[in-house]
Amino acid sequence: MSTLDEVSLLGRVRAETAALVSPTTEHDRERRRILALALPFVALAVFGAVVPLVVMFRISVAEEYLRSVGGFQLDGWVGLCSSILAFVPAVGSAFDANPVYGEVIWNSLWFGAVTTVASVALGIVIAHALEKYDLPGEGLLVTLISFPISLPGIVAAFMMIVWFGKTGLLTNFFVWLAGEASVFPQLTANDVKLTGQPAGTTLAIVGLFLGYLYSMVPRATFLLRGTYAEINTDAEAAARALGATPWQTFRYVTLPQIRPGIVGAVILTFRTALAIFGTVLVLKALSVVTFRFNQVLKVGYDLPTASALAGLFFFFTVGFTFLSLRFTSAEVTG
């Protein structure tokens, strides 16, 4: 029985392949076209992402990894997991491990969540204003708000230094307000020179928070703008005509319509927050997963632990994204 099945299966595979190589029907030709169109992308994804990721997982459980990859051990994963468990409040005392990984993961999660909520809230306000109000120079506003999307995280961090550093715009403004320095030192006797140290307030966590917002608010705004464009404006007009205040209209008419868009924006913005690295590398106010990851690699070159951490991070991001998209059926493409 089984041999027969195998033969028929083999035969079918062979027939399918033959149909793809030299198609006779239009249906087969179309399938060949789809295959040809999808092949470059699949090839790039396999070569550039799938193979490296598999190798990385192999390294995370390998004994020998410097010259050739071989052997099997779970030290990286065991170390990582016990460190995470040691951080968990109630059961942590039972584990004799340094809770550093639990801590950085917790940092990534709470900081990502806080910045995501703030960015999406701001994004809703901005998208609302851009879509509903007839603002003067709207095209210019859109261009300006989209500008930071093109900036890498390190530049976002530098922008925070420009705002809040020891010679930053805001710092200087308050120094001037306090009368400790003059805007025109040539004209007045008071010419206190500020020192040229690059980072002051920016090392505080609030500075990092604003640095995250700098990259995340524009993204959240444009994800939400797509949603706002699809709103049924008749319902809003009707609500207003029936005497609802603008806030009531927003709360009971607009918000239910944009809710799926908000969920989608939250998911994608949270992903962005988790993957931010350059900003933290410059501002260094909080040890998040990406930052710790870099430390493990550049300082100790502890590849199994780094690979295990990367693997965990990868599984979490993919799982989180797909699960949440599944459960909310939110618009992915914005």
Binding site: F47, A129, P152, M159, R219, F222, A235
Partner: protein, 335 residues
């Protein structure tokens, strides 16, 4: 906005859902709507009036504060890159009768000798007597390579998922549009797997992978505005082969999407940091690493000049995108 308004709006008259979208939808065509509850009071109450009065200025104010927060440091950085120093409250633009200075730019571009470690752009290539700093020329080339791969990979996949219906289409679309792997993780995986690959090749492949979603989205939006099926069938019925149809009918019509996708991809690839930081090992430096060195090691004004190079690129690119009918980096909302 304010919590007070929320609770006030919720409890008022005890008519939750009186203005729900389903009910109000019925208003325009159905005359008197078949609403269940009572109609909310015409008078919105004092708090309602306050929110109605203040809501709009608050929203507009938030937008303005955000725009200032986002753009003022960019302007300040650009301005400061022409300053002599910034030891006072404002940068010093005039010194010894000289308005502005190009010293910072020259140092950042590596066109003049600087004291101490050479942190410029690693010398300059001379093309017809015009000096092109090696790092910039090299990075722009790398990004261009990434875009080239993206064109080969992104356009076909965008066409396949837009035009055809097949098993696994949704998944393929999701993978093409969502950047699945964060750059820093891809970097480590890549480095260890292809350790013999030259940095340049690795960077190019990484750029193309990480920026593919932007290309796919841009091209897809062009394809979606076309009637692909009709276009393809008309061309085929007139005797064109399928490849000929694809290259001479479909692609020229999607030109706008392809060009704007390529521009966005190129700009983002030129400044890609996370992947480059991990993968780069030898050879000319990628531009983003040059920016990082400037930010972390150099005097403020020289760092400003280095970053302003990128700002200048983005401004030019934005102008190009606007000429194509796009408003800047709107596509970038997806990531």
């Amino acid at each position: 906005m304010s919590d007070g308004a929320a609770s006030e709006a919720g409890t008022e008259d005890g008519t939750p859902g009186a203005a729900s979208p389903d009910d109000t939808d019925a208003v325009p065509d159905g005359g008197l709507p078949a609403m269940g509850g009572t109609v909310p009071a015409r008078d919105p109450g004092r708090l309602g009036r306050v929110t109605a009065r203040l809501g709009r200025p608050l929203v507009v104010g938030t937008v303005l504060v955000t725009v200032v927060f986002l753009i003022l440091p960019v302007v300040a950085t650009f301005a400061a890159s022409f300053a002599h120093d910034w030891t006072g409250v404002l940068p010093t633009f005039v010194r010894d009768g000289e308005l502005f200075t190009l010293t910072n730019w020259k140092q950042a571009l590596g066109l003049t000798e600087t004291v101490g470690a050479q942190r410029g752009l690693g010398g300059a290539w001379r093309v017809f007597g015009i000096p092109i700093p090696v790092t910039i020329g090299f990075s722009m080339g790398l990004a261009l390579g990434g875009v080239f791969i993206n064109l080969l990979v992104g356009i076909p996949i965008a066409y396949a998922v837009t035009r055809y219906d097949f098993y696994g289409r949704g998944w393929l679309n999701t993978f093409a549009v969502l950047p699945i792997v964060p750059g820093i993780i891809l970097g480590v995986a890549f480095l260890k797997t292809y350790s013999n690959l030259p940095s340049a090749v690795g960077l190019m492949i990484g750029y193309s992978l990480l920026k593919a979603p932007y290309m796919v989205l841009a091209v897809q939006s062009s394809f979606e505005s076309m009637d692909l099926r009709q276009m393809e069938e008309s061309a085929r019925s007139l005797g064109a082969s399928w490849p000929r149809t694809f290259f001479t009918v479909v692609l020229p019509n999607a030109k706008t999407g392809i060009v704007s996708g390529a521009i966005v991809c190129w700009t983002l690839a030129a400044a890609e940091f996370n992947f480059s930081y991990i993968v780069y090992s030898s050879g000319p430096k990628p531009f983003s690493l040059f920016l990082f060195e400037n930010i972390s090691n150099n005097p403020f004004l020289r760092a400003s000049a280095a970053i302003s190079i990128y700002f200048a690129i983005v401004v030019v690119v934005t102008a190009l995108l606007q000429a194509l009918g796009q408003r800047g980096f709107e596509l970038g909302g997806t990531r």
